[in-house]
């Protein structure tokens, strides 16, 4: 009974921290909402290029790798929306804190930095939902006539939520490398490029060779974008493997758990190396 009440208090404390940090992050970034609103121009312009490219490619065919032109454009539409919803800078923030010594203050706080950073992201993305995601969704829906309506809304929402956490955890792991490397700009860029490529953000993963698709299937990155898109569309296929949607979401959950464990291991070893240099 006592332990249950202890757990309750702990959860309540975490929820309060989450709310307070998210709100402060939301307010802080609201001052820079114009920067965020740039996406309302940039997103549709990028999409317009994709539209022309794929229209040209589909000029002589009706399907490509099992996708029709409409499905391909929907793929890129969902990619953009997922990208804006799950965008994360935990890697950059953490390496900056380590490099400048600002991380020292987090050692004195009664909250884990990982949870604090996650709460910051929640606030940041809540603002983005209003300033970036919803306007872009409306533009895609009414201007480009891309019907971004999930086949199974509850599974799609769950998959999006897991993608949100997975992006954070993978980026946080990269940020943790600052404990060893101090400046991680190169590693960060390398990771982001590989992540975007193997997550299917640049092109559907089914465009890769059979062997490459098999490799990508076993990497966690497909659960960042490719899997949520497939859940959104309602059917999943990669490397010749077809999975039912609940199974895809279950695998996505497993990827989140594994990434969380990896972040804990990196933290355990990394924090021992922190010397407060730069403070």
């Amino acid at each position: 009974m006592l332990s249950r009440s202890g757990a309750g208090k702990r959860i309540s404390h975490l929820v309060n921290v989450l709310k307070a940090t998210a709100l402060s992050s939301y307010k802080e970034w609201a001052a820079y909402r114009n920067q965020m609103a740039v996406s309302v121009f940039v997103g549709p312009v990028f999409f317009l290029t994709q539209m022309f490219i794929w229209r040209a490619v589909y000029a002589t065919r009706t399907t490509l790798n099992g996708l029709t032109l409409e499905e391909m454009l929907t793929y890129y539409g969902i990619t953009a929306v997922i990208g804006y919803l799950t965008y994360d800078s935990a890697d950059w923030n953490l390496q900056w804190l380590v490099r400048t010594g600002g991380f020292l203050t987090f050692m004195l706080r009664p909250v884990s930095h990982c949870f604090y950073a996650f709460a910051e992201k929640v606030g940041h993305r809540l603002l983005a939902l209003l300033v970036e995601v919803l306007p872009i969704y409306v533009i895609f829906y009414f201007v480009f006539k891309i019907k971004l309506i999930p086949a199974a809304p509850s599974w799609a929402l769950l998959s999006l939520a897991l993608s949100f956490i997975l992006v954070f955890l993978t980026n946080y792991c990269i940020g943790l490398s600052a404990f060893w490397l101090t400046r991680t700009e190169g590693l960060r860029r390398a990771f982001l490029t590989l992540r975007d490529l193997s997550a299917g953000m640049l092109i559907p993963l089914t465009f890769f060779s059979e062997g490459m698709q098999k490799v990508l299937f076993y990497l966690p990155f497909q659960f960042i974008t490719y899997a949520p898109i497939r859940v959104f569309i309602g059917h999943y296929e990669l490397a010749g493997i077809t999975l039912p949607i609940p199974q895809v979401v279950a695998l996505q959950f497993l990827a989140v758990v594994l990434m969380f464990l990896l972040s804990r291991i990196l933290w355990y070893f990394g924090i021992k190396r922190f010397t407060g240099v730069g403070a």
């Binding site: 940039v42 312009v45 022309f52 490219i53 490509l64 490397l181 700009e185 190169g186 465009f207 060779s209």
Partner: protein
Amino acid sequence: MRTNLRIYLAGVKTALASRMAYRGDYFLSILIMLLVEMAAPLITILIYENGASFPGWSMYEALLIQGVFLLGKGIAYPFFFGIVWNTVERVRGGAFDLLMIKPKSALFMAIVTGFDAEDLGKLIGGATLFTLALRRLPPPGVGEWLQFLALFLITLLTLFAYGVTLAGIGIVWIGNIRVYDIFNSLTNFGLYPAAIFSKPVQTVITGIIPIAILGSVPATVLLGRPSPGTWRAVGVSFLFLAGSLSFWRAMLKKYTSAGG
């Protein structure tokens, strides 16, 4: 001129020395810059390898356009496009004043202090793609090479004009580094053959906003089939350059030195 060159080289030397403090990260960054730029060519290759194509364009012709585009960017980004982030950051931090009090123009000093050593990776990437694509195509004649070089010079001038415009925006739109996103989204059209776009878009990117001049226009000359509207694209580029310099001067007058 010689003094200016000496000042510029001093800026390059300082930037390189400073970046070498973390040389492991620097060399990794160069490699990554090279790989990052290969995203668009990779998509093109994957499209062609899956049996599809841009109608009327072979894979290497499409890659040549991207090679020219990336080569231009590869020269611009390290050597003079740094004026954008340099101006944006200095205006926000208040250090732009330091450029104003130097005995050289603020624009020149922004270029000198904005050398970006990491972006040399873009240059290596662009040059590699350009060479690889060209080797798989029939060799161009001397006349085609001369026309290409003249047009490529205009490509670089246009990129300079974009840099000056974005830096000018950075003087009044404080701290907004997303001007790069605006630039990248617009110029993304330049990575592909202009002919795959609709007629109105072709008109816009050739004769109104100089985008086709960044890739398609010079590359098609090298392929021996110049794009329609090449002269218009050249004219628009010069107008854009003149406009960007006027814009910079106008924005400089609006500078309030309120950063810090």
